[in-house]
Each structure stands twice: as C-alpha cells, then as structure tokens.
Amino acid sequence: MNLKYWLGILLVLIISSTASYAGEATPLAEDPVLEQRLMAISEELRCLVCQNESLAGSRADLALDLRREIRTLIKAGKTDAEIMDFMVSRYGDFVRYRPPVKPITWVLWFGPFLLLIGALVGLARMVRRSQSSAAAPALDPAQREKAQALLQDTELPS
C-alpha cells in the first residue's frame, strides 16, 4: 500500500476522532453550585435598566455584566453580605429587591402586622359591644307595620 493510502486512513481516523458525538448537554454555567448561589443573590437584586425584573432573569446587557461581576466576586470568596454591599455601595438601596429593614422601612415591614393586630382588636371590641345590645326591642303596631312593608320591599310614601 502506498503513502497516499496510509495518509488517507490517517486523515479519516483524525476526522472521526474529533467529530463530536451527541451526548449529555453541558450546563451553560461552568459550575452549577456557583450558579445556584448566583441566582439566589441575583433574585434579591433589581435589574436597573428593566421595567421591574430581578437581576436573575433579565437579558439586558447591564444585567449580564452585573451577573458576571457577581460571579467573579463569588469565585473570590466573598460572602453574600459582602456582595450585597458591593452592589448597594455603587447603586444605592434601590438595587435591593427586598427592601432593607431600616427606620425608613419600618412602616413597610411592620405596618401590615400592626394593622392586622389593630384590626383584630377593633373587631373583638365590636363583637363584644354588639353583644351588650343583646335584647331586641319590642315593636309597637306602627313600627310593626313599617317593618312588614319593608320586608315586602314596597316603597314607603317618603
């Protein structure tokens, strides 16, 4: 067999060895554990150029950049709190999707709970007060007639 033949075989072998065979799709992210942490942090952050989306889901350029930045920070070993600080020191509290519990947000976080307690207390008082007017007053004939007419939904001469 001549040289051309062996070169041909070699060529075929090279090509077939580099052809990718179909297999399990590779995850888009290098490190799924890291990605999960990235997603958890990103879901707590707002995408600043979108109309009401979290940083996790947004496809905007800035969002991609910021996620890349956070990925770098995670790889550098920063804690979640440090990463949040990184973002807030550059973009302000606005970037937090979950408002921080600061004096300015006390009404926001505690308001509903206080409102609920207040409403339930008011309700209990109302129920107890309605019980004190327990006995229904007796009707005199004129009132009874009026009641009857009302029950029949006829318009009274006003």
Partner: protein
C-alpha cells in the same frame, strides 16, 4: 372625629402622595457616591492604546467624567451641548467610551467632533459598574480631592449646565 371619616382621611393622604409622584421619575436612580471618593481606575486612551490613564492623574483639578458610546442614541443629543461647553474651557472633560469597539468610538468622534481633553476606554464596563453607571450617558463632576460632587443622569442639558454644574464648578475651583 367620626370613625366614618377615616377612609376619606386615608384617601386624601394617598392623593397627595400620588400628586407628588406625578412630578417624579421612578426610573431615576440617585447615586450613593455623591460626596464619596471617586473610585480609582486605570485604563488606556482611546487614540493611543499604549498610553495609560488613571483617575488619580486628575487630582488637584476639578474635572468632568462623561460616559458615552457610539451606540448610544441619547449621547448624540448631549453631544452639541458638550462641544459648546468644551469650547469655554471651564474645566477638563474626560470622555469614557463605555462598552464600545475602539474603531467605532474613534469613528464617532471623527464624525461628530471631540469635546474631550482626554478620551479613555471602558471595554468591559467594569469602570462603569464601579461608578454605578446604569445607562449612558451619565456624567460625574469630581473635585480637586477626587471626591464626586455631582452626577448627571442622562444627557447633559443646557439647564443642568447653567443651573447646577457650572455654579458648582466655580465653587469647587476656588
């Protein structure tokens, strides 16, 4: 006060807030960097990739850092204003070409004019992130000590120059 007036009271307070809300822009994100040190950065110049530039090179001067890009439509709006302002030589203006290809940036400046004393690049946007940039154009007024004193969100307008930037520059340059 009658209990029946409570709903009305709540509603009136709400209306006042809504009315004030009409005068605000919910998309505007104020910068937390005002009166804080301008983040340090080192990058290269647009026209000369081998010449470095650092923010600290500007210490001792009051200067304006303007982020722009060739793909940015609003930047074209602010450009004539910047050109006019540059002619007054009030203070040095440094242009930061944000997330742009160098050739595109150079072409844009050649086509529309160059108001910048120094032009530098931010290819991957990291300087922008450090400065809290979320949408070009944005501009930062930095004082002699390297502290950010004012941020213009969106294009620099004549009103902003006249009412806010120039008076502040005069103050800082004293």
């Amino acid at each position: 006060m009658k209990k029946a007036m409570i709903p009305l009271g709540i509603f009136l307070v709400l209306v006042v807030f809504l009315a004030i809300g009409l005068t605000r822009d919910p998309r505007e994100v104020p910068s937390p960097l005002i009166n804080k040190a301008a983040p340090a950065f080192t990058t290269t110049r647009l026209q000369a990739a081998d010449q470095p530039f650092s923010a600290k090179d500007m210490l001792g001067q009051v200067w304006l850092l303007n982020t722009w890009a060739s793909w940015c439509v609003a930047c074209r709006q602010e450009h004539p204003v910047l050109m006019e302002f540059a002619k007054t030589k009030t203070l040095p203006i440094v242009g930061l070409d944000y997330k742009d290809k160098e050739t595109d940036g150079l072409k844009w400046l050649a086509r529309f004019g160059n108001p910048y004393d120094i032009t530098v690049t931010d290819k991957d946007g990291r300087i922008g992130i450090d400065y809290g940039v979320y949408g070009v154009p944005e501009s930062f007024l930095i004082d002699k000590a390297g502290v950010i004193r004012y941020k213009q969100i969106g294009p620099v307008t004549e009103e902003a120059l006249r009412d806010k930037i120039i008076p502040l520059v005069r103050e800082l340059q004293k």
